[in-house]
C-alpha cells in the first residue's frame, strides 16, 4: 500500500519537529533565556488561565442551545471568510524560500509536498484551535462538546484555505498570470467587503428596547440568519455549530462524526490535488522572503518596500550638507520612499485627534485644553506608531559605526528626522486646534518647543533601549516566549525611564507650587521654562548615552 506521506517526507517532518524542540531547549539553557522564557510563559499561562478558568468554574450557560448554535455558525462563517482571505494572499503552495530549492528538486511528488504542508498547517493551527475550543467551552451547554466542535472547526478552516489557494494557483498557471491574479484580488476584496457589510448591516439595526441588552444582539443575528441568502451561507457550518451547542451525546456524536469526516475528506481532497504549483509557489515564496527580510531588518510589520518618488519630489537635506546632514538625509529619504502609508496614517491620527479634541473641550477658553490633549495623545501615539530609527539599521550597524562622525552625532542624526516628523505633525495638529478655537497666541511657541523636547526624550529612550538590547521578532523567528518576556522587561524599563524623565521635568513647577507656595498660574511660566531646561539636559544626556551605546555596540553579537 502506498503511504499517504512518503517515508522521506515523514522523516523530514520528524527531524524538523525534533529540531524545533532542540532549539527551544538550547534557548532556555542560558540563565537569561530561561528567565525570559519564564516571564513570557507566565504571561501566556495567565492569559490562557483567564480564558479557561470559567470553563471549570462556571454555572449553567445562560444561552439556549439554539442560540449557541446560531452564534457558533456565525462565528465560524467569519473565521472561514478571514482564513480564506488570508489564504488568497498566498498564491499556490507556500514553501519557505530556504527550503524551496531543496524540496522542489527532490524526488518527492507534488501531492507529498502539499501533504507535508498540510501536516505543518494542522500542527500550527492546533494551538489556535485549543484556544478557540477553550473560548467556545464557555458558551456551550457542555464544555467538552463545545471544545471538540470548535477545535475541529479551527483545524478544518486552514486546510480549506490552503486547498483554495492551491486550486487558484493552478488556475493562474493555466491562464495568463495577470488575468488570474485579478480574481485573487477581487475575491479577497469581495470576501472582506462582504464581511464588513454584513457586520455593518447587523450593527446598524437598532435593538428592540424590550430586549435585554445581552440578548438583543442575538435577536438581530437570528433575524438576519432567517433571511434565505444568509441562511444558505451559514448552512455549511451546521455540523460544527451543532457539536458546539450539543446538550447530550445523542446530539454531539453524529455532529462530531460529520465534522471529523469533513476534515478527513478535505485533507484527502487537498492532499490529492494534482496541480503544478511550482511557478506560483516560487513567486509567492520569493515575495514572502523579501517581505520577511524587510520585517527582520525592522522595516515595520508590513515590511513595506521602498518606492521611487515622482521625479519632481526631491528629498530635502533638512540638517545641512555636512556628514551629520548626510546621515539625516539618508533617513529622511528612507521615510519618504518607504513610509508614505505611515505618514498618511500619522496625518489621519492627528486630524481625528484635532476634531475630537475641539469637540470635546468647552467652547469658552477651551482652545489650550484641546491643544494640550492633541499634543499629549499625538506625541504619545505617533512616537509609538511612526518608528524610523535604529530598528531598521541593525544589519547596517557595522558600516554605520565606521562613518567618520562622533557616535553621539550619528545617534542624533539617525533619529533627528523621526523626531522632526512627529513634532511637525503634532505641532500642526496643535496649531489647527488653536486656530479653530481662535485661541492662537504666544503660548503656541512654548508648547511647540515642549512637544519637540518630549518627542525627542521618548525617541532617545526608545533607541537607547534598543541599542542596549537589540532584538526584534518577525514571523518565522524562534524564541517567542523569550521575545515576549524580553518585550515586557524592556517596555517596563522604557516606561519607568520616561516616567522619571517627566517627573524631573515637572519638578520646577511642583517646587514653585508646593515648596514656595506659588499659585499654579504664577508658577506656570517659570515652571515651563524650567521644564524645558530640564528636558534639554535630559535629551543631551540621552544623546550622549545613545552615542556611548552605539560605540560599544557589538555587531557580532547574536540576536
Amino acid at each position: 500500500m502506498k503511504h499517504w506521506l512518503e517515508p522521506a517526507a515523514l522523516l523530514l517532518l520528524r527531524l524538523k519537529w525534533r529540531g524545533f524542540w532542540r532549539k527551544q531547549w538550547r534557548r532556555v539553557r542560558t540563565p537569561s533565556g530561561a528567565l525570559l522564557a519564564l516571564l513570557g510563559g507566565a504571561l501566556g499561562t495567565l492569559w490562557l488561565a483567564s480564558i479557561s478558568m470559567p470553563m471549570f468554574r462556571r454555572g449553567p450557560t445562560r444561552l439556549g442551545a439554539d442560540e449557541v448554535e446560531l452564534l457558533a455558525q456565525a462565528a465560524l462563517a467569519v473565521i472561514v471568510v478571514i482564513t480564506l482571505s488570508t489564504s488568497l494572499s498566498f498564491r499556490g503552495l507556500y514553501v519557505p524560500a530556504t527550503e524551496i530549492e531543496t524540496l522542489f528538486s527532490a524526488p518527492l511528488s507534488r501531492p507529498t509536498l502539499i501533504r507535508m504542508r498540510l501536516v505543518v498547517a494542522l500542527a500550527r493551527s492546533g494551538l489556535g484551535a485549543c484556544f478557540a475550543g477553550l473560548g467556545a467551552s464557555r458558551l456551550g451547554s457542555s464544555p467538552l462538546y463545545a471544545f471538540a466542535g470548535a477545535f475541529t472547526a479551527f483545524l478544518w478552516a486552514p486546510i480549506l484555505g490552503q486547498g483554495v489557494a492551491i486550486a487558484l494557483g493552478g488556475a493562474e498557471n493555466r491562464l495568463a498570470a495577470r488575468l488570474a491574479r485579478a480574481p485573487h484580488r477581487a475575491l479577497r476584496i469581495a470576501l472582506i467587503a462582504g464581511l464588513l457589510f454584513g457586520l455593518v448591516g447587523l450593527l446598524s439595526q437598532s435593538p428592540d428596547a424590550s430586549q435585554s441588552p445581552a440578548r438583543a444582539p442575538l435577536e438581530f443575528l437570528r433575524q438576519v440568519a432567517e433571511r434565505p441568502v444568509v441562511s444558505a451561507l451559514l448552512a455549511p457550518f451546521w455540523p460544527w455549530a451543532r457539536a458546539v451547542s450539543a446538550t447530550g451525546p445523542e446530539e454531539f456524536w453524529p455532529a462530531f462524526a460529520l465534522c471529523a469526516a469533513i476534515l478527513a475528506a478535505t485533507l484527502a481532497v487537498v492532499g490529492g490535488l494534482r496541480v503544478d504549483f511550482r511557478e506560483t509557489a516560487l513567486a509567492t515564496s520569493a515575495d514572502m522572503a523579501r517581505r520577511l527580510a524587510r520585517m527582520r531588518r525592522g522595516l515595520g510589520a508590513g515590511g513595506v518596500e521602498a518606492r521611487r518618488l515622482p521625479l519632481a519630489w526631491r528629498t530635502p537635506w533638512l540638517f545641512g550638507r555636512g556628514p551629520f546632514g548626510a546621515i539625516a538625509f539618508r533617513k529622511t529619504a528612507s521615510i519618504l520612499r518607504r513610509a508614505r502609508g505611515g505618514l498618511v496614517f500619522g496625518g489621519v491620527v492627528i486630524a481625528v485627534l484635532t476634531v475630537f479634541a475641539s469637540n470635546w473641550s468647552e467652547p469658552a477658553g477651551g482652545g489650550m485644553r484641546s491643544a494640550l490633549l492633541v499634543a499629549a495623545f499625538g506625541a504619545f501615539y505617533l512616537s509609538l506608531g511612526l518608528r524610523y530609527d535604529f530598528r531598521e539599521e541593525l544589519d547596517a550597524l557595522a558600516s554605520i559605526r565606521s562613518w567618520p562622525l562622533a557616535p553621539w552625532k550619528i545617534f542624533l542624526a539617525t533619529i533627528a528626522p523621526q523626531i522632526a516628523l512627529i513634532s511637525l505633525l503634532v505641532t500642526g495638529g496643535v496649531l489647527l486646534t488653536l486656530v479653530r478655537a481662535n485661541d492662537l497666541d504666544l503660548r503656541f511657541a512654548g508648547l511647540s518647543v515642549l512637544i519637540g523636547l518630549l518627542v525627542a526624550t521618548w525617541v532617545c529612550i526608545d533607541n537607547l533601549a534598543f541599542l542596549l538590547a537589540p532584538t526584534r521578532s518577525a514571523p518565522g523567528h524562534d524564541g517567542v516566549l523569550q521575545h515576549m518576556g524580553r518585550s515586557i522587561v524592556l517596555a517596563l524599563l522604557r516606561s519607568v525611564t520616561m516616567a522619571a524623565a517627566l517627573a524631573a521635568a515637572a519638578a520646577p513647577v511642583l517646587v514653585c507650587v508646593h515648596l514656595l507656595g506659588w499659585t499654579m498660574e504664577s508658577a506656570l511660566p517659570l515652571g515651563l521654562v524650567g521644564a524645558a531646561f530640564v528636558l534639554c539636559v535630559e535629551v543631551a544626556a540621552l544623546i550622549a548615552a545613545g552615542g556611548l551605546a552605539l560605540a560599544r555596540f557589538d555587531v557580532a553579537r547574536e540576536r
Partner: protein, 253 residues
C-alpha cells in the same frame, strides 16, 4: 562509449517579456564535466533550475537518465542533485540529520560510512551536531556538497560551488568534483571563475542572452576563435560573448 545522462532539447524560459533561455539544446555524458559560463543574465541559473525540476518545463525537453523530467519527474530527480549558488540547509536540522534525510530521500542504502567519509573530506566532522541555521556560508556550501555526493548521483548540477569556501575547501571541492566525474557522474558546473572551469571542465557551454554561443572542448573553442589560438578561457569567453547575439556564435554553437 559513455552514455548520455542529460539531454536538453530546445529549452526556453521567459520571465514576462524577458527571454532568459532561448531554445537551448545540449547533452551531458557520463564522466563529463560540462562548464557552463556566461555573463550575468545569460540564463545559466534558469537552465540549471529547469533541469533540476525547480522550474516547470514542457514534456520532451529535458531527459535525465532516460526519464523525461516533465513526465517521469520523480525518477528523473532521483538521478540528479542540485546545489544552488547559496544553499540553504534546514534551520533546525543538524548536519548529520541532513545526511540522514538525504539518504532517505534518495533511498541510499548503507549510507553511514559514506556520510562519515564525506564529513571528514569536507572538514565537517566537528560540525556534525551543529544546526543548519548555525552554519557559515562556506559550511553551508560544504554541507550541500556532502548531501549531493551521498549515494551515487548520475548528474550533479553545481551553481558557483566554490563561493564562500576557504582555500582548503576549494581544493577539496575541486578534487571531489573530478573524482565524482571519474566515477561516471555527469557534472554541470556553472561559475564565473573561468580558471576553475578551465581547470576542471572537459567541455564548455558558453551562454549569452539565453542562447548557446559556443559548445565544445577548449581546444575546439581555440579553433573556433582563430584569434585566440593560444588564449585562455577568459579571452575566448570575451571573444564569444562580444559577438552580436543571434548569429549562432561560433561554429560549435
Amino acid at each position: 562509449m559513455s552514455r548520455t545522462v542529460l539531454e536538453v532539447r530546445g529549452l526556453s524560459r521567459r520571465y514576462g517579456a524577458l527571454v532568459a533561455v532561448d531554445g537551448l539544446s545540449f547533452q551531458a555524458r557520463e564522466g563529463e564535466i560540462l562548464g557552463l559560463v556566461g555573463p550575468n543574465g545569460a540564463g545559466k541559473t534558469s537552465t540549471l533550475r529547469s533541469i533540476a525540476g525547480v522550474l516547470p518545463t514542457p514534456a520532451d525537453v529535458i531527459t535525465v537518465c532516460g526519464h523525461d523530467i516533465a513526465r517521469d519527474e520523480e525518477a528523473a530527480k532521483r538521478c540528479l542533485r542540485w546545489i544552488p549558488d547559496d544553499p540553504q540547509p534546514f534551520e533546525a536540522l543538524t548536519v548529520h540529520e541532513h545526511l540522514e534525510f538525504t539518504a532517505a530521500l534518495y533511498r541510499c542504502a548503507d549510507w553511514r560510512d559514506q556520510a562519515r567519509d564525506l564529513l571528514e573530506r569536507f572538514e565537517l566532522t566537528e560540525k556534525r551536531d551543529a544546526l543548519g541555521g548555525e552554519l557559515s556560508r562556506g559550511m553551508r556550501q560544504k554541507l550541500s556538497m556532502c548531501c549531493a555526493w551521498l549515494g551515487e548521483p548520475r548528474l550533479v548540477l553545481l551553481d558557483e560551488p566554490l563561493s564562500g569556501l576557504d582555500p582548503r575547501g576549494i581544493r577539496s571541492a575541486k578534487q571531489a568534483i573530478v573524482e565524482l566525474a571519474a566515477r561516471g557522474a555527469a557534472v554541470i558546473l556553472s561559475s564565473h571563475l573561468l580558471e576553475l572551469i578551465e581547470a576542471l571542465a572537459t567541455r564548455l557551454l558558453i551562454l549569452d542572452q539565453g542562447r548557446c554561443v559556443f559548445a565544445g572542448t577548449l581546444a575546439e573553442a581555440r579553433a573556433a576563435f582563430p584569434e585566440q589560438q593560444r588564449g585562455s578561457l577568459e579571452e575566448i569567453f570575451f571573444a564569444a560573448t562580444s559577438k552580436p547575439s543571434g548569429n549562432g556564435g561560433a561554429p560549435g554553437a
